[in-house]
């Protein structure tokens, strides 16, 4: 199957799912319930799925588990909140949404490159530690800097631009934009990993020395991969900031950083779609655990569910569905999982 054909088919399938799910919700539930699901579960899953996608991209194709992706998303969110007209309090202000979003994305790419450059010599647990240190350092910096980031309170009232006369945060408008962005980025990742750059990246993951001997610049490839992941995380950060009507240090703190890792791991690091599966599972349980189980102890339920998923399927929900599929078809275990 050629690359173009794969992308076309995946794109159509993704578009179909993203359109059919809301339709199914409208058929199955009363209107306000369906809107709640679309606006608060699906949209949230897509936003955090995008940020998780940046982590999954790095982990799956480069072998880099970076904990700094929430920080990069936060940098985009903060640049948007600081520059856009109407945010409270005014830090820089005065820019319209298109310009502010552009600057936010640029900042996230630069931040991604910077993280990549700082972490370029580390791997595995050391990479995890250095990116964790960056994330916590940035969180503390933002929290204690009043003049630039308004400290603990954060910056509020980032409502998003009006789209064709409708409010950005209208559930259907927001869902459409979030799902469009998610689909484009997802296809972008699928495309990228089949380009020479993506193949070299996977080569670096498997054997950096050999790739280096073949004449590739390993350092440059790594840094660029972090820059691309920064762009993906930045898109998610911009959407998350508009979704939350603003940004505060709590949105990018240690808790948020760990949640992102949980989403990626629960979904499965084998394929980019795992990011979205994981964030959907996370959004559903985070919202409804308190209704399903004792309200004082619902965090135990969330923890237990994630533990069970990871225990019975080390490669997350994706691996689980793959295993189930194999079991149903009665196929023998294949030699290696598809990359």
């Amino acid at each position: 199957m050629t690359l173009a054909r794969t992308l076309l088919l995946t794109g159509t399938a993704g578009l179909g799912i993203l359109c059919l799910v809301p339709l199914a919700l409208f058929l199955a539930l009363p209107e306000n319930q369906a809107l709640f699901w679309i606006g608060n579960i699906l949209a949230r899953a897509l936003i955090y799925g995008i940020i998780a996608l940046s982590l999954t991209f790095l982990a799956t194709y480069g072998g880099f588990v970076s904990l700094a992706q929430m920080m990069v998303a936060g940098i985009a969110g903060y640049v948007l909140a600081m520059t856009v007209q109407g945010a409270v309090p005014v830090i820089i202000g005065g820019f319209g949404y298109p310009m502010a979003i552009l600057m936010a994305l640029l900042a996230s790419v630069l931040a991604g490159l910077a993280v990549g450059a700082i972490a370029v010599r580390t791997n595995d647990i050391y990479l995890l530690m250095i990116t964790l240190a960056l994330a916590v350092g940035f969180y503390r910096f933002v929290e204690s800097n009043i003049d630039l980031f308004n400290g603990y309170e954060g910056i509020r009232n980032v409502l998003g631009p009006d789209i064709l006369g409708r409010r950005f945060r209208d559930p259907m408008v927001f869902y459409t934009i979030a799902s469009g962005t998610a689909l484009l980025l997802y296809l972008g990742v699928l495309f990228l990993v089949r380009t020479p750059f993506g193949l070299a990246l996977q080569g670096i993951r498997d054997n950096p020395r050999r790739i280096s001997a073949l004449g590739y610049n390993v350092v440059l490839h790594r840094i660029v991969a972090f820059g691309i992941a920064g762009f993906i995380a930045g898109c998610g950060g911009v959407l998350a900031t508009i979704y939350n009507i603003g940004i505060s240090p709590g949105s990018i703190g240690l808790g948020a950083t760990i949640n992102l890792l949980i989403m990626s791991v629960v979904g499965g690091l084998g394929h980019p779609v795992g990011a979205f599966v994981g964030s959907l599972i996370f959004a559903i349980f985070d919202t409804f655990a308190a209704s399903l189980y004792d309200r004082d102890r619902f965090n135990s339920l969330i923890g237990a569910v994630f533990l069970v998923i990871v225990l019975i399927s080390p490669d997350g929900a994706l691996g689980l569905s793959r295993r189930l599929g194999r079991l149903l078809r009665g196929k023998p275990k294949p030699g290696a999982p598809p990359a």
């Binding site: 919700l25 539930l29 709640f36 608060n40 009043i146 505060s248 209704s291 569905s321």
Partner: protein, 421 residues
């Protein structure tokens, strides 16, 4: 590749629909039910306060046996972690998914601002604040659907500036506080009184969550005659411990959240500083008021594992729940017509408080409440606060016309300012 994706997507789709069916509440709303949602912090830094809020709400609802005006109260409990975006997600879930009529909450300042903004986008729903105390929530950009029956950070410190100047002869106060809006509001309230009388103030800010106060303690001016501590929770504990260890000799006074059971029940060198400490705040643990005695007795009977005395969180959530119940009784449980009658009743309400006073609302639906000057006393090794002075009818604007008060500007780290020469 394509088929693999389809299987996965089908699985995801199935999961979505299955959980949709699972989670959809019983939609057949009985005519005789009123749904009340609550948001408090059962996670994060204020989790113990959130627990106490649950105790207070349980008490308030059990007192009326979960019925008001012949209708059943259905209570949907939600928890946040003191972060604005989490509180917002929970409020949306309560309103849109659980379809509650009224929300009681949230607990902390940034959450309060977020829910105030959210309440403005709603029609026919009411949010009654739990205990969040940022001043601007009901001072600037107010929302018609947001009611607050507790004072804000400024009101909670009312009287302390005057007391420090007149009774303790303080002329130059060095204040230490967390670098964010809630302490700013308290400092604003203190300085309103203290600077007007002619006092001078040196401010020493440190970020929320500071553990090492050595540099702050070293910067306290030698000629300051009193130190005002505005920190809360673990920050307060860290500051007081280190101040005691550094041999600090200047007398201390404290803000409303510095002297609470978190600090008073902890062991350590700071206890030497706590005895006889003067502070301001909206509740007094060891009040002689009979209403308070009865409230404490029923709290301890219902929750033997609770605190030694109900906390500030319990008192404020209790008042909020009482207000909701009283207003519902007045309108006979009628929430029709976008809750207009109910909201009008809430706005005119006079709610008796466990402290033996009454609280009512101003035009911005903000409480006019009592405040106290308190002294810490040691009762058999357990520390409590006792009442020194009581101020009734403290308004959000300290008795000034609102326009004049607003012209003073928002509280910030530099506003107001009256440094020593």
């Amino acid at each position: 590749m394509f088929r693999g994706l389809m299987t996965r997507s089908t699985a995801a789709l199935l999961a979505v629909t299955a959980s949709a069916a699972l989670a959809a509440p019983t939609l057949a709303q009985q005519g005789g039910t009123i749904r009340i949602g609550s948001i408090k912090t059962l996670e994060g830094p204020f989790a113990t306060g959130g627990q106490d809020a649950v105790r207070a709400l349980t008490m308030a609802f059990e007192e009326v046996n979960f019925t008001v005006a012949g209708k059943k109260i259905e209570w949907v409990r939600e928890s946040s972690n003191a972060q604005a975006d989490v509180a917002l997600a929970r409020a949306r879930k309560l309103i849109e998914q659980d379809q509650v009529d009224i929300i009681i909450g949230p607990l902390s300042g940034a959450e309060g601002m977020a829910l105030r903004d959210y309440s403005r986008t709603l029609t026919g729903k009411t949010i009654v604040n739990g205990q969040s105390a940022a001043a601007d929530t009901t001072l600037r950009d107010v929302s018609p659907n947001f009611f607050r029956f507790n004072g804000d950070g400024m009101q909670w410190i009312a009287g302390l500036g005057t007391y420090a100047y007149q009774k303790m002869n303080a002329r130059h106060v060095a204040l230490v506080g967390g670098d964010y809006a809630f302490p700013y509001a308290q400092v604003f309230g203190f300085m309103q009184e203290f600077c007007k009388l002619g006092g001078k103030v040196t401010k020493l800010w440190s970020p929320l969550g500071t553990t090492d106060f050595a540099s702050t303690i070293a910067s306290i001016p030698k000629n300051a005659d009193t130190v005002l501590v505005i920190h809360g929770g673990t920050d307060a504990l860290a500051f007081l411990t280190q101040y005691a260890q550094a041999g600090g000799q200047q007398p201390l006074i404290a803000g409303p959240v510095t002297v609470d059971q978190v600090v008073m029940s902890a062991r350590g060198p700071h206890r030497r500083l706590l005895n006889n400490l003067i502070s301001a705040g909206p509740i007094v643990d060891d009040s002689d008021d009979p209403t308070w005695k009865a409230f404490v007795a029923s709290y301890k009977k219902r929750f033997p594992d609770g605190f030694a005395a109900p906390s500030i969180n319990a008192v404020h959530y209790y008042i909020a729940a009482k207000a909701v119940i009283m207003a519902l009784e007045q309108v006979k449980g009628d929430l029709s017509n976008n809750q207009q009658a109910f909201q009008a009743a809430l706005a005119k309400l006079e709610v008796p408080t466990p402290m033996g006073g009454k609280v009512r609302l101003d035009d911005n639906r903000q409480a006019i409440a009592s405040n106290f000057i308190r002294r810490v006393v040691d009762r058999n090794g357990q520390l409590f606060t006792t009442q020194v002075e009581r101020f009734d009818n403290v308004t959000q604007t300290f008795g000034m016309p609102r326009a004049e008060f607003l012209a003073l500007g928002s509280p910030s780290r530099d506003n107001p300012s009256c440094p020593p020469q």
